[in-house]
Protein backbone atom coordinates (compact mmCIF):
# COMPACT_ATOMS: atom_id res chain seq x y z
CA UNK A 1 0.00 0.00 0.00
CA UNK A 2 2.96 2.24 0.71
CA UNK A 3 4.03 1.96 -2.94
CA UNK A 4 0.58 2.71 -4.34
CA UNK A 5 0.09 5.71 -2.10
CA UNK A 6 3.51 7.16 -2.85
CA UNK A 7 2.73 6.79 -6.57
CA UNK A 8 -0.57 8.60 -6.14
CA UNK A 9 0.36 11.37 -3.76
CA UNK A 10 4.14 11.57 -3.93
CA UNK A 11 6.64 10.99 -1.17
CA UNK A 12 5.51 13.48 1.45
CA UNK A 13 4.08 13.60 4.92
CA UNK A 14 0.48 13.66 3.68
CA UNK A 15 0.92 10.27 2.04
CA UNK A 16 2.05 8.69 5.25
CA UNK A 17 -0.89 10.23 7.06
CA UNK A 18 -3.27 8.85 4.43
CA UNK A 19 -1.97 5.27 4.46
CA UNK A 20 -3.66 4.31 7.76
CA UNK A 21 -7.03 5.75 6.65
CA UNK A 22 -8.39 2.62 4.89
CA UNK A 23 -7.14 0.48 7.76
CA UNK A 24 -8.78 2.59 10.44
CA UNK A 25 -11.98 2.60 8.38
CA UNK A 26 -11.87 -1.18 8.32
CA UNK A 27 -11.15 -1.41 12.05
CA UNK A 28 -14.08 0.88 12.88
CA UNK A 29 -16.54 -1.03 10.76
CA UNK A 30 -15.21 -4.33 12.06
CA UNK A 31 -15.50 -3.22 15.69
CA UNK A 32 -19.08 -2.00 15.21
CA UNK A 33 -20.23 -5.25 13.68
CA UNK A 34 -18.13 -7.50 15.89
CA UNK A 35 -19.93 -6.07 18.89
CA UNK A 36 -23.25 -6.81 17.24
CA UNK A 37 -22.07 -10.30 16.26
CA UNK A 38 -20.94 -10.92 19.80
CA UNK A 39 -24.34 -9.94 21.19
CA UNK A 40 -26.24 -11.93 18.58
CA UNK A 41 -24.12 -15.06 18.93
CA UNK A 42 -24.29 -14.95 22.73
CA UNK A 43 -28.05 -14.53 22.46
CA UNK A 44 -28.42 -17.55 20.21
CA UNK A 45 -26.20 -19.63 22.46
CA UNK A 46 -28.30 -18.71 25.46
CA UNK A 47 -31.63 -19.20 23.69
CA UNK A 48 -32.41 -15.47 23.61
CA UNK A 49 -33.13 -13.21 20.65
CA UNK A 50 -30.53 -10.48 21.13
CA UNK A 51 -30.74 -6.92 19.83
CA UNK A 52 -33.61 -6.75 17.33
CA UNK A 53 -35.28 -3.36 17.82
CA UNK A 54 -33.21 -1.19 15.54
CA UNK A 55 -33.59 -2.03 11.86
CA UNK A 56 -34.57 -5.53 10.90
CA UNK A 57 -31.95 -7.63 12.70
CA UNK A 58 -30.63 -4.97 15.04
CA UNK A 59 -28.09 -3.97 12.39
CA UNK A 60 -28.02 -0.36 13.57
CA UNK A 61 -27.73 -1.29 17.24
CA UNK A 62 -24.00 -0.67 17.76
CA UNK A 63 -23.99 2.41 15.54
CA UNK A 64 -26.67 3.91 17.75
CA UNK A 65 -24.81 2.74 20.84
CA UNK A 66 -21.73 4.54 19.58
CA UNK A 67 -23.74 7.72 18.96
CA UNK A 68 -25.15 7.43 22.47
CA UNK A 69 -21.68 7.00 23.96
CA UNK A 70 -20.42 10.05 22.10
CA UNK A 71 -23.21 12.21 23.52
CA UNK A 72 -22.74 10.99 27.06
CA UNK A 73 -21.30 13.21 29.70
CA UNK A 74 -17.80 12.27 30.77
CA UNK A 75 -17.99 11.57 34.47
CA UNK A 76 -14.51 12.06 35.83
CA UNK A 77 -13.41 10.98 39.30
CA UNK A 78 -12.39 14.09 41.22
CA UNK A 79 -9.16 12.64 42.59
CA UNK A 80 -7.92 11.29 39.28
CA UNK A 81 -4.54 12.04 37.82
CA UNK A 82 -5.89 14.24 35.07
CA UNK A 83 -3.26 13.97 32.32
CA UNK A 84 -2.69 10.22 32.48
CA UNK A 85 -6.36 9.46 33.10
CA UNK A 86 -7.25 11.15 29.84
CA UNK A 87 -4.29 9.79 27.92
CA UNK A 88 -4.60 6.11 28.81
CA UNK A 89 -7.53 5.01 26.56
CA UNK A 90 -5.85 6.49 23.51
CA UNK A 91 -2.54 4.77 24.24
CA UNK A 92 -4.33 1.43 24.58
CA UNK A 93 -6.14 1.93 21.29
CA UNK A 94 -3.07 3.24 19.46
CA UNK A 95 -1.10 0.19 20.52
CA UNK A 96 -3.80 -2.14 19.22
CA UNK A 97 -4.12 -0.18 16.00
CA UNK A 98 -0.40 0.06 15.27
CA UNK A 99 -0.28 -3.71 14.96
CA UNK A 100 -2.43 -3.43 11.84
CA UNK A 101 0.45 -1.76 10.01
CA UNK A 102 1.97 -5.13 9.20
CA UNK A 103 -1.15 -7.24 8.67
CA UNK A 104 -1.12 -8.49 5.06
CA UNK A 105 -4.72 -8.15 3.87
CA UNK A 106 -3.63 -9.29 0.40
CA UNK A 107 -0.50 -9.33 -1.74
CA UNK A 108 -1.11 -5.62 -2.42
CA UNK A 109 -2.90 -4.26 0.64
CA UNK A 110 -0.47 -4.19 3.52
CA UNK A 111 0.30 -1.07 5.52
CA UNK A 112 4.03 -1.53 5.24
CA UNK A 113 5.89 -4.77 4.56
CA UNK A 114 8.66 -4.57 7.14
CA UNK A 115 11.52 -7.05 7.14
CA UNK A 116 10.81 -7.45 10.82
CA UNK A 117 7.02 -7.49 10.58
CA UNK A 118 6.29 -10.17 13.16
CA UNK A 119 8.83 -8.82 15.65
CA UNK A 120 7.33 -5.36 15.18
CA UNK A 121 3.86 -6.71 15.87
CA UNK A 122 4.82 -8.35 19.13
CA UNK A 123 6.79 -5.30 20.26
CA UNK A 124 4.16 -2.73 19.42
CA UNK A 125 1.23 -4.58 20.94
CA UNK A 126 3.16 -4.83 24.20
CA UNK A 127 3.01 -1.05 24.67
CA UNK A 128 -0.72 -1.30 25.30
CA UNK A 129 0.30 -2.61 28.70
CA UNK A 130 1.63 0.83 29.63
CA UNK A 131 -1.74 2.35 28.78
CA UNK A 132 -3.59 -0.17 30.91
CA UNK A 133 -1.28 0.43 33.85
CA UNK A 134 -1.70 4.19 33.38
CA UNK A 135 -5.49 3.86 33.39
CA UNK A 136 -5.44 1.65 36.46
CA UNK A 137 -3.21 3.97 38.41
CA UNK A 138 -4.67 7.29 37.31
CA UNK A 139 -8.24 6.27 38.19
CA UNK A 140 -7.27 6.30 41.86
CA UNK A 141 -9.49 3.33 42.56
CA UNK A 142 -8.21 0.14 44.13
CA UNK A 143 -10.21 -2.12 41.82
CA UNK A 144 -8.84 -0.30 38.80
CA UNK A 145 -5.32 -0.63 40.07
CA UNK A 146 -5.74 -4.35 40.76
CA UNK A 147 -7.28 -4.81 37.33
CA UNK A 148 -4.37 -3.01 35.73
CA UNK A 149 -1.81 -5.04 37.67
CA UNK A 150 -3.52 -8.28 36.71
CA UNK A 151 -3.69 -7.33 33.05
CA UNK A 152 -0.02 -6.53 32.99
CA UNK A 153 0.96 -9.73 34.77
CA UNK A 154 -1.19 -11.71 32.38
CA UNK A 155 -0.03 -10.04 29.18
CA UNK A 156 3.65 -10.11 30.13
CA UNK A 157 3.43 -13.82 30.99
CA UNK A 158 1.52 -14.81 27.88
CA UNK A 159 3.88 -12.93 25.59
CA UNK A 160 6.36 -15.77 26.12
CA UNK A 161 4.28 -18.71 24.77
CA UNK A 162 2.99 -16.42 21.99
CA UNK A 163 6.48 -15.63 20.81
CA UNK A 164 7.74 -19.18 21.27
CA UNK A 165 4.96 -20.74 19.22
CA UNK A 166 5.33 -18.10 16.51
CA UNK A 167 9.08 -18.79 16.32
CA UNK A 168 8.29 -22.33 15.13
CA UNK A 169 6.96 -20.86 11.88
CA UNK A 170 9.78 -18.31 11.73
CA UNK A 171 12.30 -21.15 11.85
CA UNK A 172 10.59 -23.05 9.04
CA UNK A 173 10.05 -19.99 6.85
CA UNK A 174 13.37 -18.28 7.59
CA UNK A 175 11.90 -14.80 7.53
CA UNK A 176 10.09 -12.30 9.74
CA UNK A 177 8.28 -10.41 6.99
CA UNK A 178 4.51 -10.92 7.16
CA UNK A 179 4.16 -10.74 3.39
CA UNK A 180 6.75 -13.51 2.91
CA UNK A 181 4.96 -15.80 5.37
CA UNK A 182 1.88 -15.57 3.19
CA UNK A 183 3.86 -15.91 -0.07
CA UNK A 184 5.65 -19.06 1.08
CA UNK A 185 2.38 -20.83 1.84
CA UNK A 186 1.17 -20.68 -1.76
CA UNK A 187 -0.23 -23.69 -3.58
CA UNK A 188 -3.31 -24.81 -1.73
CA UNK A 189 -4.47 -25.75 1.72
CA UNK A 190 -1.83 -28.48 2.27
CA UNK A 191 0.98 -25.98 1.98
CA UNK A 192 -0.25 -23.95 4.93
CA UNK A 193 1.95 -24.13 7.98
CA UNK A 194 -0.74 -25.80 10.04
CA UNK A 195 -0.19 -28.73 7.63
CA UNK A 196 3.59 -28.45 7.82
CA UNK A 197 4.12 -25.81 5.15
CA UNK A 198 5.41 -26.41 1.63
CA UNK A 199 7.91 -29.20 1.19
CA UNK A 200 8.44 -32.89 0.60
CA UNK A 201 5.90 -35.49 1.83
CA UNK A 202 8.14 -36.15 4.86
CA UNK A 203 6.63 -33.01 6.39
CA UNK A 204 3.74 -35.21 7.50
CA UNK A 205 5.64 -36.00 10.71
CA UNK A 206 5.54 -32.37 11.85
CA UNK A 207 1.81 -31.85 11.29
CA UNK A 208 0.91 -32.71 14.92
CA UNK A 209 3.55 -30.27 16.18
CA UNK A 210 2.28 -27.52 13.92
CA UNK A 211 -1.33 -28.07 14.97
CA UNK A 212 -0.31 -27.90 18.63
CA UNK A 213 1.69 -24.72 17.96
CA UNK A 214 -1.24 -23.13 16.15
CA UNK A 215 -3.60 -23.89 19.02
CA UNK A 216 -1.05 -22.60 21.53
CA UNK A 217 -0.59 -19.40 19.57
CA UNK A 218 -4.34 -18.91 19.32
CA UNK A 219 -4.92 -19.51 23.03
CA UNK A 220 -2.07 -17.35 24.22
CA UNK A 221 -3.05 -14.47 21.94
CA UNK A 222 -6.57 -14.89 23.30
CA UNK A 223 -5.11 -14.44 26.78
CA UNK A 224 -3.24 -11.36 25.57
CA UNK A 225 -6.44 -9.76 24.37
CA UNK A 226 -7.95 -10.38 27.83
CA UNK A 227 -11.06 -12.11 26.69
CA UNK A 228 -13.00 -14.79 28.51
CA UNK A 229 -11.94 -17.42 29.65
CA UNK A 230 -8.93 -15.21 30.43
CA UNK A 231 -10.69 -11.93 31.23
CA UNK A 232 -9.42 -11.71 34.78
CA UNK A 233 -8.73 -8.05 34.27
CA UNK A 234 -12.41 -7.21 34.36
CA UNK A 235 -13.60 -10.17 36.42
CA UNK A 236 -16.80 -8.46 37.51
CA UNK A 237 -17.36 -10.67 40.52
CA UNK A 238 -13.99 -9.68 41.96
CA UNK A 239 -12.95 -6.38 40.44
CA UNK A 240 -16.23 -4.73 39.39
CA UNK A 241 -14.89 -3.88 35.93
CA UNK A 242 -11.13 -3.74 36.20
CA UNK A 243 -9.44 -0.75 34.65
CA UNK A 244 -12.61 0.57 33.04
CA UNK A 245 -14.52 1.29 36.27
CA UNK A 246 -13.99 5.02 36.32
CA UNK A 247 -14.27 5.52 32.58
CA UNK A 248 -17.48 6.66 30.99
CA UNK A 249 -18.74 7.75 27.60
CA UNK A 250 -16.29 7.88 24.73
CA UNK A 251 -13.27 7.12 26.89
CA UNK A 252 -14.81 3.79 27.83
CA UNK A 253 -15.68 3.24 24.19
CA UNK A 254 -11.98 3.61 23.30
CA UNK A 255 -11.10 0.70 25.58
CA UNK A 256 -13.89 -1.32 24.06
CA UNK A 257 -12.78 -0.40 20.57
CA UNK A 258 -9.20 -1.39 21.39
CA UNK A 259 -10.31 -4.81 22.58
CA UNK A 260 -12.15 -5.54 19.35
CA UNK A 261 -9.33 -4.11 17.23
CA UNK A 262 -6.94 -6.42 19.01
CA UNK A 263 -9.20 -9.43 18.51
CA UNK A 264 -8.94 -9.14 14.76
CA UNK A 265 -5.25 -8.23 14.85
CA UNK A 266 -4.28 -11.41 16.71
CA UNK A 267 -6.56 -13.47 14.47
CA UNK A 268 -4.73 -11.93 11.53
CA UNK A 269 -1.42 -13.03 13.02
CA UNK A 270 -2.62 -16.62 13.52
CA UNK A 271 -4.04 -16.57 9.98
CA UNK A 272 -0.83 -15.31 8.45
CA UNK A 273 1.43 -17.67 10.34
CA UNK A 274 -0.54 -20.90 10.23
CA UNK A 275 -3.52 -20.58 7.90
CA UNK A 276 -1.87 -19.33 4.74
CA UNK A 277 -2.60 -15.62 5.12
CA UNK A 278 -4.35 -14.35 2.02
CA UNK A 279 -3.71 -17.54 0.02
CA UNK A 280 -6.74 -19.23 -1.48
CA UNK A 281 -7.23 -22.78 -0.17
CA UNK A 282 -7.46 -24.05 -3.75
CA UNK A 283 -4.01 -22.79 -4.70
CA UNK A 284 -3.38 -22.49 -8.42
CA UNK A 285 -6.24 -24.80 -9.39
CA UNK A 286 -8.55 -21.81 -9.74
CA UNK A 287 -6.22 -18.85 -10.48
CA UNK A 288 -9.20 -16.48 -10.53
CA UNK A 289 -9.58 -16.97 -6.76
CA UNK A 290 -6.04 -15.76 -6.14
CA UNK A 291 -6.42 -12.20 -7.44
CA UNK A 292 -5.82 -9.39 -4.91
CA UNK A 293 -9.55 -8.77 -4.35
CA UNK A 294 -10.21 -12.41 -3.56
CA UNK A 295 -7.09 -12.52 -1.41
CA UNK A 296 -8.70 -9.87 0.79
CA UNK A 297 -11.76 -12.08 0.91
CA UNK A 298 -9.74 -15.12 2.02
CA UNK A 299 -7.83 -13.18 4.62
CA UNK A 300 -10.99 -11.68 6.07
CA UNK A 301 -12.79 -15.03 5.93
CA UNK A 302 -10.04 -16.76 7.88
CA UNK A 303 -9.56 -13.90 10.32
CA UNK A 304 -13.27 -13.48 10.98
CA UNK A 305 -13.70 -17.23 11.50
CA UNK A 306 -11.07 -17.03 14.22
CA UNK A 307 -12.88 -14.03 15.71
CA UNK A 308 -16.01 -16.18 15.69
CA UNK A 309 -14.13 -18.91 17.59
CA UNK A 310 -13.05 -16.28 20.14
CA UNK A 311 -16.66 -15.21 20.64
CA UNK A 312 -17.76 -18.82 20.79
CA UNK A 313 -15.20 -19.63 23.49
CA UNK A 314 -16.19 -16.55 25.45
CA UNK A 315 -19.80 -17.64 25.77
CA UNK A 316 -19.00 -21.31 26.35
CA UNK A 317 -16.29 -21.42 29.00
CA UNK A 318 -16.31 -20.02 32.52
CA UNK A 319 -13.53 -17.72 33.62
CA UNK A 320 -10.39 -19.36 35.00
CA UNK A 321 -8.93 -18.36 38.36
CA UNK A 322 -5.80 -16.22 38.47
CA UNK A 323 -3.64 -19.06 39.82
CA UNK A 324 -5.01 -21.44 37.18
CA UNK A 325 -4.21 -18.83 34.53
CA UNK A 326 -0.60 -18.51 35.63
CA UNK A 327 -0.18 -22.27 36.10
CA UNK A 328 -1.47 -22.84 32.61
CA UNK A 329 0.99 -20.36 31.16
CA UNK A 330 4.17 -21.25 33.04
CA UNK A 331 3.68 -24.99 33.62
CA UNK A 332 1.92 -26.06 30.44
CA UNK A 333 2.08 -23.57 27.58
CA UNK A 334 5.75 -22.61 27.89
CA UNK A 335 7.11 -26.17 28.27
CA UNK A 336 4.95 -27.42 25.38
CA UNK A 337 6.09 -24.50 23.23
CA UNK A 338 9.74 -25.20 24.08
CA UNK A 339 9.38 -28.89 23.23
CA UNK A 340 7.76 -27.90 19.91
CA UNK A 341 10.63 -25.55 19.22
CA UNK A 342 13.17 -28.30 19.92
CA UNK A 343 11.39 -30.88 17.75
CA UNK A 344 11.10 -28.44 14.84
CA UNK A 345 14.78 -27.68 15.22
CA UNK A 346 15.57 -31.40 14.93
CA UNK A 347 13.29 -31.64 11.89
CA UNK A 348 15.04 -28.74 10.19
CA UNK A 349 18.46 -30.29 10.80
CA UNK A 350 17.61 -33.83 9.69
CA UNK A 351 14.99 -33.33 6.98
Amino acid sequence: MENIFTQWFGDNLLTYILIPVPIIAYVSVFALYAVLAERKISAWMQNRIGPNRTDKFGLLQTILDAVKLMQKELILPSRRDNLYFRMAPYIVFTAAFMGYAVLPFSSVFIGVDLNLGLFYFFAITSIGVVGVLMAGWASNNKYSLFGGMRTVAQIVSYEIPTALSAIVVVMLAGTLSMQKFALIQSGGIFNWYIFGGPGSPIKIIIIPIMVVSAVLLFLSTLAETNRTPFDLTEADSELVAGVHIEYSGMMFAMFFFAEYAQMFAVSGIVTTLFLGGWQSPFGELIPFLNTPVFQVFWFLAKGLSLVFVQIWLRWTLPRVRIDQLMTMCWKFFIPIALVNLFLIGLYIIFA
Binding site: Y84, S126, W137
Partner: protein, 166 residues
Protein backbone atom coordinates in the same frame (compact mmCIF):
# COMPACT_ATOMS: atom_id res chain seq x y z
CA UNK B 1 11.95 21.09 4.76
CA UNK B 2 11.60 17.36 4.05
CA UNK B 3 9.09 15.54 6.22
CA UNK B 4 11.78 13.45 7.89
CA UNK B 5 13.24 16.64 9.37
CA UNK B 6 9.83 17.64 10.72
CA UNK B 7 9.50 14.19 12.27
CA UNK B 8 12.98 14.47 13.71
CA UNK B 9 12.23 17.78 15.43
CA UNK B 10 8.90 16.51 16.76
CA UNK B 11 10.60 13.41 18.17
CA UNK B 12 13.47 15.45 19.58
CA UNK B 13 11.00 17.77 21.30
CA UNK B 14 9.16 14.80 22.82
CA UNK B 15 12.43 13.28 24.03
CA UNK B 16 13.71 16.48 25.61
CA UNK B 17 10.43 17.52 27.25
CA UNK B 18 9.63 14.09 28.63
CA UNK B 19 13.22 13.60 29.82
CA UNK B 20 13.00 16.91 31.69
CA UNK B 21 9.76 15.71 33.30
CA UNK B 22 11.45 12.43 34.27
CA UNK B 23 14.21 14.30 36.04
CA UNK B 24 12.29 17.12 37.71
CA UNK B 25 8.99 15.51 38.63
CA UNK B 26 8.54 14.77 42.32
CA UNK B 27 6.13 11.91 41.69
CA UNK B 28 7.95 8.68 40.90
CA UNK B 29 5.07 7.22 38.89
CA UNK B 30 4.85 10.36 36.77
CA UNK B 31 8.55 10.06 36.04
CA UNK B 32 8.11 6.44 35.04
CA UNK B 33 5.26 7.25 32.67
CA UNK B 34 7.24 10.11 31.13
CA UNK B 35 10.10 7.72 30.62
CA UNK B 36 7.73 5.75 28.39
CA UNK B 37 7.50 8.71 25.99
CA UNK B 38 11.25 9.28 26.08
CA UNK B 39 12.02 5.66 25.21
CA UNK B 40 9.35 5.49 22.56
CA UNK B 41 10.54 8.66 20.85
CA UNK B 42 14.14 7.41 20.95
CA UNK B 43 13.01 4.36 19.01
CA UNK B 44 11.45 6.78 16.51
CA UNK B 45 14.86 8.39 16.08
CA UNK B 46 16.31 4.94 15.39
CA UNK B 47 13.68 4.45 12.69
CA UNK B 48 14.71 7.73 11.07
CA UNK B 49 18.29 6.45 11.11
CA UNK B 50 17.07 3.31 9.29
CA UNK B 51 18.15 1.12 12.19
CA UNK B 52 14.93 -0.89 12.17
CA UNK B 53 16.11 -3.82 14.27
CA UNK B 54 17.42 -1.70 17.09
CA UNK B 55 14.28 0.47 17.00
CA UNK B 56 12.00 -2.49 17.52
CA UNK B 57 14.31 -4.04 20.10
CA UNK B 58 14.22 -0.72 21.95
CA UNK B 59 10.43 -0.93 22.18
CA UNK B 60 10.45 -4.63 23.04
CA UNK B 61 13.11 -4.45 25.74
CA UNK B 62 12.76 -0.99 27.25
CA UNK B 63 9.07 -0.22 26.82
CA UNK B 64 7.63 -3.73 26.95
CA UNK B 65 10.02 -5.05 29.57
CA UNK B 66 12.11 -2.76 31.70
CA UNK B 67 9.63 0.12 31.98
CA UNK B 68 6.81 -2.22 33.02
CA UNK B 69 9.04 -3.83 35.64
CA UNK B 70 10.04 -0.38 36.86
CA UNK B 71 6.44 0.77 37.27
CA UNK B 72 5.51 -2.53 38.86
CA UNK B 73 8.41 -2.28 41.25
CA UNK B 74 7.55 1.28 42.24
CA UNK B 75 3.87 0.49 42.71
CA UNK B 76 4.31 -2.73 44.63
CA UNK B 77 7.17 -1.83 46.92
CA UNK B 78 6.33 1.67 48.19
CA UNK B 79 4.13 0.40 50.98
CA UNK B 80 5.88 -2.89 51.73
CA UNK B 81 9.40 -1.81 52.56
CA UNK B 82 10.37 0.67 55.24
CA UNK B 83 12.62 2.57 52.87
CA UNK B 84 10.76 5.62 51.66
CA UNK B 85 11.28 6.57 48.05
CA UNK B 86 12.93 9.95 48.28
CA UNK B 87 12.39 12.50 45.58
CA UNK B 88 14.10 15.47 47.18
CA UNK B 89 17.48 16.74 46.08
CA UNK B 90 20.50 15.59 48.03
CA UNK B 91 24.17 16.43 47.56
CA UNK B 92 23.41 19.42 45.36
CA UNK B 93 26.95 20.72 44.86
CA UNK B 94 28.68 17.40 43.96
CA UNK B 95 25.90 16.51 41.57
CA UNK B 96 26.10 19.90 39.85
CA UNK B 97 29.86 19.46 39.43
CA UNK B 98 29.39 15.95 38.11
CA UNK B 99 26.67 16.94 35.63
CA UNK B 100 28.62 19.94 34.37
CA UNK B 101 31.64 17.66 33.90
CA UNK B 102 29.66 15.14 31.91
CA UNK B 103 28.01 17.77 29.74
CA UNK B 104 31.41 19.36 29.01
CA UNK B 105 32.80 16.02 27.91
CA UNK B 106 29.72 15.33 25.76
CA UNK B 107 29.85 18.74 24.07
CA UNK B 108 33.56 18.32 23.47
CA UNK B 109 33.00 14.86 21.93
CA UNK B 110 30.10 16.07 19.78
CA UNK B 111 32.14 18.90 18.28
CA UNK B 112 35.45 17.08 17.95
CA UNK B 113 34.14 13.88 16.33
CA UNK B 114 34.26 13.66 12.57
CA UNK B 115 30.72 12.52 11.88
CA UNK B 116 30.55 9.95 9.15
CA UNK B 117 27.81 11.33 6.92
CA UNK B 118 26.51 8.82 4.41
CA UNK B 119 23.67 8.63 1.97
CA UNK B 120 20.84 6.63 3.54
CA UNK B 121 20.93 3.01 2.38
CA UNK B 122 17.79 1.28 1.24
CA UNK B 123 16.17 -0.95 3.84
CA UNK B 124 18.25 -4.08 3.76
CA UNK B 125 17.60 -7.17 5.76
CA UNK B 126 19.72 -6.70 8.87
CA UNK B 127 18.18 -9.32 11.11
CA UNK B 128 19.72 -12.26 9.21
CA UNK B 129 23.18 -10.69 9.44
CA UNK B 130 22.74 -9.95 13.13
CA UNK B 131 21.60 -13.51 13.77
CA UNK B 132 24.51 -15.03 11.86
CA UNK B 133 27.03 -12.82 13.64
CA UNK B 134 25.58 -13.60 17.06
CA UNK B 135 25.85 -17.33 16.47
CA UNK B 136 29.28 -17.31 14.81
CA UNK B 137 31.72 -14.46 15.52
CA UNK B 138 30.15 -13.25 18.74
CA UNK B 139 28.99 -16.61 20.06
CA UNK B 140 30.99 -16.44 23.29
CA UNK B 141 29.74 -13.00 24.47
CA UNK B 142 26.22 -14.03 23.48
CA UNK B 143 26.39 -17.22 25.53
CA UNK B 144 27.99 -15.43 28.48
CA UNK B 145 25.19 -12.85 28.45
CA UNK B 146 22.55 -15.57 28.40
CA UNK B 147 24.21 -17.49 31.26
CA UNK B 148 24.41 -14.24 33.22
CA UNK B 149 20.70 -13.65 32.70
CA UNK B 150 19.94 -17.21 33.78
CA UNK B 151 22.01 -16.73 36.95
CA UNK B 152 20.13 -13.50 37.70
CA UNK B 153 16.81 -15.27 37.13
CA UNK B 154 17.64 -18.18 39.44
CA UNK B 155 19.12 -15.82 42.03
CA UNK B 156 16.03 -13.63 42.14
CA UNK B 157 13.80 -16.69 42.36
CA UNK B 158 15.90 -17.88 45.32
CA UNK B 159 15.50 -14.51 47.09
CA UNK B 160 11.79 -14.38 46.41
CA UNK B 161 11.21 -17.90 47.72
CA UNK B 162 9.64 -18.29 51.12
CA UNK B 163 12.18 -19.72 53.56
CA UNK B 164 10.81 -22.54 55.66
CA UNK B 165 11.79 -22.55 59.30
CA UNK B 166 11.73 -26.05 60.63
Amino acid sequence: MPYTSILFYVLALIIVVSAIIVVFNKNVIHSAFSLFFTLFAVSGIYVLLKADFIAITQIMVYVGGILILLIFGVMLTTKITDVELKTKNLNVIPSILFSVGIITILIFVVFSTKWNLKQAVENEETVTQIGTLLLSTYLLPFEIASVLLLVALIGSAMFARRIKND
